[in-house]
């Protein structure tokens, strides 16, 4: 009997999806919230607290996009996705965008038909080993047992690295990050490999972080970024430029603290264009003029988001490294707002 009650709900859901073709931005505006795909739980990047509120570095990007559209960083719903169903969820329209530490690769961009809007974290795959092993280079890991998380680019990089160097290893594929760490700590594997940021955040939660070292080799490039479906350029622009706005804000010193003051107008036309007091960039995107102000207001600029979630004062303690502004020798480089 319950079936028909559900059919009612289903038809409602079907009708709601009836205007799915109208363009994602219009859909999102009509729904009144943004549906964002995130990881089921990666320390510092996407976690849910005791009240069920999602937070983290990736989550902040979703909140910024929601704020750019609605002026409200909470007008977003999160769908936790596994590495298996994340791409299907995005391509089938279940989520509007994906911010789930996903590596930008050729085949994902071209074959799986996604658009990576940019890079919010430049990462690379590294190795962590207990100090007691006396290993100083990943090339010393001949015959070692290595824990990896499955369903990612990590296992392919790992196979390639060991093959290239002609050394053997034994992979231990594990479904989730937490279980991989558990096995590593118990000594069921000699090394744990994942993105360097993941290694640092994992090490931060250990009982004795000092007993573990991260090896110098970075065996792959892992540009992590938010992505959207092919074929909706307007929506891609919204997400891309929201991310750029966060980066640009840091470059020009716009923070959540001085935002209100700078929004009154400054002598710097670049800041004025960014904050919407000059020009009509927001209108071009199909958003309000102060879209970037709202996006920055919710979690601050890129630096603030970084420091709050994964920066050196958090338990994760990542330094900016490659993720510093280009002016500071990093790779973050937002195209100009004009």
């Amino acid at each position: 009997m319950k079936r028909f009650a559900f059919i009612g709900a289903l038809t409602a859901a079907t009708f709601a999806a009836g205007f799915a073709s109208a363009g994602t931005l219009d859909d999102v505006k009509a729904k009144g919230f943004l549906q964002c795909g995130v990881a089921t739980g990666v320390v510092g990047f996407a976690t849910a607290d005791a009240n069920g509120r999602w937070d983290g570095f990736d989550v902040s990007v979703c909140r910024a996009v929601a704020a750019a559209i609605f002026g409200d960083g909470d007008a977003v719903k999160f769908t936790p996705l596994s590495s298996k169903n994340r791409f299907t969820a995005l391509s089938s329209g279940e989520v509007d965008m994906l911010a789930r530490n996903t590596t930008w690769t050729f085949s994902r961009d071209v074959e799986l038909k996604f658009n990576f809007v940019g890079v919010n974290y430049y990462d690379g795959q590294g190795f962590m080993v207990p100090k007691a092993l006396g290993v100083t280079s990943a090339k010393d890991l001949d015959g070692a047992t290595v824990c990896i998380q499955t369903g990612t680019t990590t296992e392919l990089n790992l196979a390639d690295f060991f093959r290239k160097n002609g050394i053997s290893y034994e992979p231990v594929p594990i479904e989730t990050n937490n279980e991989a760490i558990q096995q590593y700590i118990a000594g069921a594997c000699d090394a744990y490999t994942t993105d360097a940021s993941g290694l640092a955040s994992a090490r931060a939660t250990f009982e004795n972080p000092k007993d573990h070292i991260i090896l110098p080799e970075i065996v792959s490039k892992e540009p992590l970024g938010p992505l959207v479906r092919h074929g909706d350029d307007q929506w891609m622009d919204v997400v891309r430029w929201t991310l750029n706005a966060l980066i640009e804000a840091e470059e020009y010193g716009v923070t959540s603290a001085n935002l209100a003051e700078l929004a009154k107008g400054t002598d710097n036309p670049e800041i004025n264009r960014l904050l919407g007091t000059e020009g009509n960039l927001g209108e071009m995107l199909g958003l309000s003029a102060d879209w970037a102000q709202k996006a920055i207001a919710v979690g601050g600029n890129y630096a603030e988001i970084f420091e709050r979630n994964i920066g050196e004062n958090t338990p994760i303690g990542l330094s900016r490294g490659l993720n510093a502004q280009w002016t500071d020798g990093g790779l973050l480089y937002s195209p100009p707002f004009r």
Binding site: L112, T145, E155, G187, A188
Partner: protein, 422 residues
């Protein structure tokens, strides 16, 4: 007047399709068939439309591309340059391996526990009840992850074996190492090995057959057959003369002799595992993911089999055991000669479905990282190629094939042991 006794002569009317029971069943079936075909067409056209919208095409070419990932426990040789097809095949073999091992241990443990639950020993019977209830009422996935966690946390790691005063030592005359990575046991080696026969060339399905193993098996089975002939001869002599010649030493010699000779000729010796570098090397080993999965599936299914065995035994009327007792049989012989053979007939049908359940539950290997077919074809291959439709369909067909073969074989067995009624 004749018209009264004749049945009314009617031609075929359309209404008869519904109201005449001769045609109605046909109508219903045709309607059902049409509905089914319409549903199938609808699904296929939806799929085609959606795939077109996603700009994807259906195809199995990806199976021939290099997989790119490694598998830690394989029954055949494999490298990351092999194809996805071969990775799937190895996954399938791993599934079959854990399913077969699980079914055997689950049956043994289940029968023991089922019998012990009926024991007169208060403590043992209660303990077995606790065991059965504990395992039956907690999800198997939870058992798998729990047993995996126990093995990881409580067993020693390889580096504990190192040093002058190691925290852990090898068991059974220094030949077996139990670690939290797996179980290392000695392997059979042949110093005058005959090598391998390489079959199916370089294709994805290639495999090696050990010539040593073939020779040993030929010797063993030849010996068994010869021993059988000796026994038949002894039977004949007994039937003719009433005296049975003593043949056990002949038969023992015939069975073991050729095998031992072949083993010596091949230079059989054991290769012991030894700690080298990060891990034990030498010997053969079983990863703890396989161990945990095997143990969890066996213990979980054993709880159900125990219940089946218990109710099977209870289904045998008390008169049977009383009659056997009256014949002077001891308790354990009553069980093995009278009760169990009869109970088997009640036990086997539900046992088949437990075997099927175990095989299907082995797909939870993904939770502990054992690379079965769900982990290779339905896991990494799916993730790396993005071919959800093809891989999941293949996965389902493979499991369907396994299930149907198991139930086919077991039903055939069941028919054979069934009571032949007159």
């Amino acid at each position: 007047m004749t018209a009264l006794s004749d049945p009314p002569k009617e031609g075929f009317r359309l209404g008869m399709l519904i109201y005449d029971s001769r045609y109605r069943s046909m109508t219903i079936q045709v309607a059902a068939l049409v509905g089914f075909i319409a549903l199938a067409i609808w699904l296929v056209s939806n799929t085609a439309a959606n795939l077109a919208a996603l700009d994807k095409s259906l195809g199995f070419g990806f199976l021939m591309e290099p997989a790119g990932y490694d598998i830690n426990q394989t029954l055949l040789e494999y490298s990351s340059r092999d194809t996805h097809l071969r990775a799937s095949l190895l996954g399938l073999l791993n599934t079959l391996l854990v399913a077969a091992m699980g079914c055997i241990t689950a049956t043994i443990v289940g029968v023991i526990i089922g019998v012990l639950r009926l024991s007169h020993n208060w403590l043992v019977a209660r303990l077995m009840t606790v065991y059965v209830e504990l395992f039956r009422n907690v999800p198997v996935l939870l058992w798998i992850v729990l047993i995996m966690a126990v093995s990881i946390e409580t067993l020693p790691q390889p580096r504990d074996f190192r040093g002058d005063n190691p925290a852990a030592t090898m068991k059974v005359f220094d030949s077996v190492a139990v670690t939290n990575r797996g179980l290392y046991v000695p392997e059979p080696l042949f110093s005058r090995s005959l090598g391998n026969t390489h079959l199916l060339g370089e294709s994805s399905l290639r495999f090696d057959v050990s010539n040593d193993l073939i020779v040993i098996l030929i010797a063993l089975f030849g010996g068994i057959y010869a021993a059988h002939r000796v026994r038949v001869r002894a039977d004949r002599i007994q039937a003719q003369t009433g005296l049975r010649p003593t043949t056990w030493w002949q038969r023992l010699g015939l069975i073991t002799g050729p095998t031992i000779v072949v083993l010596i000729a091949l230079g059989f010796h054991l290769g012991y595992p030894a700690l080298k570098g990060f891990n034990f090397s030498g010997g053969t080993y079983m990863r703890n993911s396989l161990l945990a999965l095997w143990l969890a599936l066996s213990l979980y299914t054993a709880a159900f089999i125990a219940e089946i065995v218990r109710s099977g035994i209870n289904a045998i009327s008390k008169g049977q055991s009383e009659a056997a007792a009256a014949l002077g049989l001891r308790q354990r012989r009553i069980m093995s000669l009278v009760i169990l053979p009869q109970a088997m007939r009640v036990i086997i049908p539900p046992l088949i479905s437990q075997y099927l359940n175990l095989t299907k539950n082995s797909s939870l290997a993904i939770a502990v990282g054992y690379m079965d077919i769900t982990g290779t074809l339905g896991g990494i291959t799916l993730n790396q190629t993005g071919r959800e439709l093809e891989t999941i369909m293949m996965l389902m067909l493979v499991y369907l094939g396994i299930s149907l073969s198991i139930s086919f074989v077991m039903n055939w067995y069941n028919d054979r042991v069934k009571l032949k009624e007159r």
